[in-house]
């Protein structure tokens, strides 16, 4: 904190220092303005690209929208660019949302392609348009903003100092926004989505919505940067303002600085902008693009060698200096674990879950064939069957990770086979995964917070709630460990805590004991028995017959996607037909 205050005060004093040292030469101030400008843009990009892991390569289009909106409003209607800046931001937020929304229902590379195509079409379209609805766009020529002298109310200053302070303020605002977002509900959702979108949705996080909000925020601030650019340079053209160059720089800087960190964009700009200035000064107008060779090479190097960028390294540096003065962190104060009781009692004698005629095939292979069953409130039902019997497919169909080809699923009197995964979780279905899927970039506590947040009133409440569930799962002592550092047994406990933190009425457990070493096994079984004892309705996939017969009230046996038997555990496991498929051959009697 003290470091930050010193840095801000220092930055605020620089214009006086340059004046005292080198007179009224604004060159150095100009370089610093560019550093801050690119740090600002990169930080705006980072809101969706870094925090959300959605790499936009078309942010220059949004920059252009900001620059053109405020400039046209100023030239045509005399609206002060300060207001035009907000109008451009709002317009960009809407357009960013429209572009992003369809992509966010899909994932990954698609968004990158769409954003780059968007920016490119916008640029070419603007270059070829002389007027639109009577507004003079001036095509490729762009336009000059009228020079009115020193009029702060109209966003014009004589000399660079005014722009320097405006940019410094904007930069502090965007860094503060990044800091706040990272600690907010949205920040946790984005971090979870970036690591594993399916697992996040299974915890009730709405991935498309979180990404949409981040994209709109990012678009808004990027467009504001566009207005600043127009006012600073006084001349905008589509070729420059919406250039692929700008889009690429907004990607390269945060990646170099540390993608997804709050200050990474600043570090990236501090390194790269001076490199650009030096090469431009050295090779000037004769050769363009030398700096881009360096940017590209650095980008490749960072991705291949230091995917975390500069930020962790700087942080380590500061931390080492502070290590001596470190105060011991108080252990998480945890009383008793919470009760696993269902959120609301199920109505009457109705089954909690009723599945009818469920079917799903993969190409030619049948995953699940005409499966029907029900689970009563408070009941524990086990699903057993050989590998490939379709057990996990059933879970995927129940939670919405897969869509069924036919059949219907009713839960607490509500049909949910067309609902999205996050909706099904919010209605009360939670799951664990056979192959554990923790959010590997978050701590154990934060993993559980993601699950608690959709139902919590505040981040603080979610943190307390998460701490209780971690304690319940016997993981309190690992709360602050990054999930990638947990053992398999601990990850299984983490998934249980995460699923329970969504306060489910039905919990689907997918091979909790699978892949766990013998030492961790008894503890996990005890945990499951504890959950059962508190009356939560469970659907359990389990290979370990001893575990499942002890846990379940009733067993379903699946074979090649079909239910071949159903009944009390002891009766099922001694049934010859079941033994036949399960053990894989007739068993000699006597």
């Amino acid at each position: 904190m003290r470091l930050a205050i010193v840095a801000i005060a220092g930055a605020a004093l620089i214009p006086f220092a340059t004046r005292a040292l080198i007179g009224d030469d604004d060159y150095w101030l100009q370089v610093l303005i560019w550093v801050m400008f690119f740090a600002y843009l990169s930080a705006a990009w980072n809101l969706i690209g870094g925090f959300g892991g959605q790499y936009s390569i078309g942010h220059a289009g949004l920059l252009g929208i900001g620059a053109y909106t405020s400039s046209l409003l100023y030239v045509q209607a005399g609206v002060s660019p300060w207001l035009g800046m907000l109008a451009g931001g709002a317009l960009a937020a809407v357009i960013g949302g429209v572009i992003g929304y369809p992509c966010f229902r899909l994932r990954g590379a698609f968004f990158s392609l769409v954003t780059i195509a968007f920016a490119e079409m916008l640029r070419v379209g603007t270059e070829l348009t002389d007027s639109l609805f009577g507004l003079p766009i001036n095509g490729v020529r762009g336009f000059l903003l009228p020079v009115v002298g020193h009029r702060p109310a109209e966003f014009q200053f004589s000399g660079k100092r005014g722009y320097y302070y405006v940019m410094l303020a904007l930069l502090l605002v965007i860094l503060a926004v990044g800091w706040l977002v990272k600690r907010s509900r949205l920040g946790y959702y984005l971090a979870a989505i970036r690591d594993d979108e399916d697992a996040a949705a299974a915890l009730g996080v709405h991935p498309a919505r979180a990404k949409l909000v981040a994209m709109m925020l990012s678009s808004f601030f990027t467009a504001i940067g566009g207005t600043f650019y127009a006012q600073l340079v006084g001349f905008i053209t589509p070729t420059r303002t919406m250039s692929l160059d700008f889009s690429v720089q907004m990607v390269v800087m945060p990646v170099l600085g540390g993608i997804g960190t709050v200050l990474g964009p600043l570090w990236g700009a501090l390194v790269l902008v001076p490199i650009g200035e030096v090469t431009r000064a050295r090779w000037g107008g004769s050769v363009q693009g030398v700096h881009l060779i360096i940017y590209g090479a650095l980008l490749m190097l960072v991705i291949l060698r230091w995917p975390q960028g500069i930020d962790p390294w700087l942080r380590g540096f500061v931390r080492r200096r502070r290590a001596a003065a470190a105060v011991e962190v108080a252990p998480l104060a945890v009383a008793e674990g919470p009760r696993v009781a269902p959120r609301a009692p199920a109505g009457g004698g109705e089954p909690l879950l009723r599945v009818g005629g469920l079917r799903r095939s993969f190409g030619g292979a049948v995953g699940v064939r005409d499966l029907s069953f029900h689970v009563a409130p408070g009941e524990v039902v086990g699903i057993i069957g050989a590998n490939g019997a379709g057990k996990t497919t059933v879970f995927n169909l129940l939670t919405g990770a897969l869509d069924a080809d036919a059949g219907d699923v009713w839960f607490a009197g509500q049909r949910l086979d067309r609902e999205r995964p996050e909706t099904r979780n919010r209605l009360g279905i939670a799951r664990t995964f056979q192959i554990v899927r923790p959010f590997i970039g978050l701590t154990a506590l934060e993993n559980v917070m993601v699950a608690a947040l959709p139902r919590a009133a505040s981040v603080g409440e979610a943190r307390r709630e998460a701490a209780r569930w971690l304690a319940f799962a016997g993981l309190a002592y690992r709360a602050d460990v990054i999930a990638s550092g947990l053992s398999t047994g601990e990850r299984k406990r983490l998934e249980l805590a995460r699923a329970l933190a969504t306060r489910p009425r039905l919990l689907l457990l997918d091979e909790v004991t699978g892949g766990v070493d013998q030492r961790s096994l008894p503890g996990l079984v005890r945990l499951m028995q504890q959950i059962r004892a508190e009356g939560l309705t469970l659907l359990v996939i389990e290979h370990n017959l001893r575990v499942v017969t002890a846990l379940a009230d009733r067993l379903l046996v699946l074979h090649l996607g079909e239910k071949i038997h159903e009944g009390a555990p002891q009766a099922v496991v001694t049934d010859p037909a079941v033994v036949d498929v399960y053990v894989g051959g007739p068993v000699a009697r006597g």
Binding site: G53, Y55, I57, V98, I99, P102, C103, R105, L106, R107, G108, A109, F110, S112, L113, V114, I116, A117, F118, E120, M121, L122, V124, G125, L128, T129, D130, G139, L244, V248, V251, V252, V255, V287, Q288, G289, V290, L292, I293, Y295, G296, A297, L298, L299, M300, I303, L304, P307, D403
Partner: protein, 292 residues
């Protein structure tokens, strides 16, 4: 009406080249779920090699694929081996986004290095076919563009045969469907990725050769085609081979028809409108497979 028919024809012809580039993008995406930002740069390399072969050796551009196809295949294989493989080995994600950034860096380096060494002058190659046209049914058809369309058709057929009729091709498809399972079946997934990347690069050798007789050569030329190819793969369906060909022709025709009827600016706006509409109606693209 004749004007429209003429515009559609010209659009179809340039669409052939667009389709080739989009096809190259989709081979790589279809097998390793990676968007290759260096695709346009590879096209630029193909065009420059073709240009130098003509300028220094008098080799006709249509013969240059004999050199450029093996050369670019090797370059693609090498890029995959040196840069992409280490990342794929590290990333467990189904769509490794870091590769996208890596190829973006590679494109920046190569394109700007070309600018440094070959200068930003526009170069052209004028051959016997450059200005040739044939007239059929009252339509004027430019010969080099017709060759471009034929190249798309021939490459698509060859690719289809390769992917469906040969063991290596089947291995490429299998790896694209499920990398883990393909590996369990004894397929060396990294070799397959090398082949896919090499093939995609080799196609830029063909595209370069058919472009050179009627298009300028410049370090930035690849990027302008690549950006169009991105629009095309989004329209046609990311990873879909027929989608790439269809999207290429479609974009060519829209550009040609609207530019003739109204003006080029409107063509971009119409294209953009269609682009956004398809995003909302069929986000996976015209021939794309919906994946959630």
């Amino acid at each position: 009406m004749r004007g429209l028919a003429q515009a559609v024809t010209s659009g179809l012809l340039i669409g052939g080249v667009y389709g080739l580039i989009a096809l190259g993008l989709n081979i790589v995406f279809g097998t390793m779920r990676v968007v290759n930002f260096a695709q346009g740069t590879l096209l630029m390399v193909g065009m420059f090699v073709t240009y130098w072969l003509w300028e220094l050796g008098g080799v006709h551009p249509y013969l240059s694929p004999l050199v450029t196809v093996p050369l670019l295949f090797g370059l693609g294989f090498l890029i995959q081996h040196l840069f992409v493989s280490p990342l794929l080995a590290r990333e467990r994600a189904r769509e490794p986004m870091s590769v996208l950034l890596l190829t973006l860096g590679l494109a920046l380096v190569l394109e700007n290095a070309a600018l440094l060494f070959f200068s930003a002058d526009f170069k052209t190659v004028t051959t016997d076919v450059s200005m040739q046209t044939v007239k059929t049914a009252g339509l004027i058809v430019s010969v080099p563009r017709l060759v471009g369309l034929a190249a798309l058709a021939a490459t698509s057929v060859a690719l289809y045969v390769f992917l469906t009729r040969t063991d290596l091709g089947r291995a490429v498809r299998a790896t694209g469907q499920d990398r883990e399972v393909a590996r369990l079946m004894g397929i060396n997934d990294f070799r397959i990725y090398g082949v896919a990347y090499g093939l995609s690069a080799a196609m830029m050798g063909i595209a370069g050769a058919v472009l050179v007789p009627f298009f300028y050569i410049h370090p930035g030329v690849g990027t302008s085609f690549l950006l169009k190819a991105f629009v095309i793969v989004v329209l046609g369906g990311l990873g879909s081979m027929p989608g790439a060909a269809l999207g290429g022709l479609l974009v060519g025709v829209i550009e040609g028809a609207v530019a003739l009827w109204v003006q080029a600016a409107i063509a971009q706006i119409v294209l953009f409108g269609i682009f956004v509409a398809i995003l909302f109606v069929r986000p996976a693209g015209l021939l794309g497979v919906e994946r959630r």
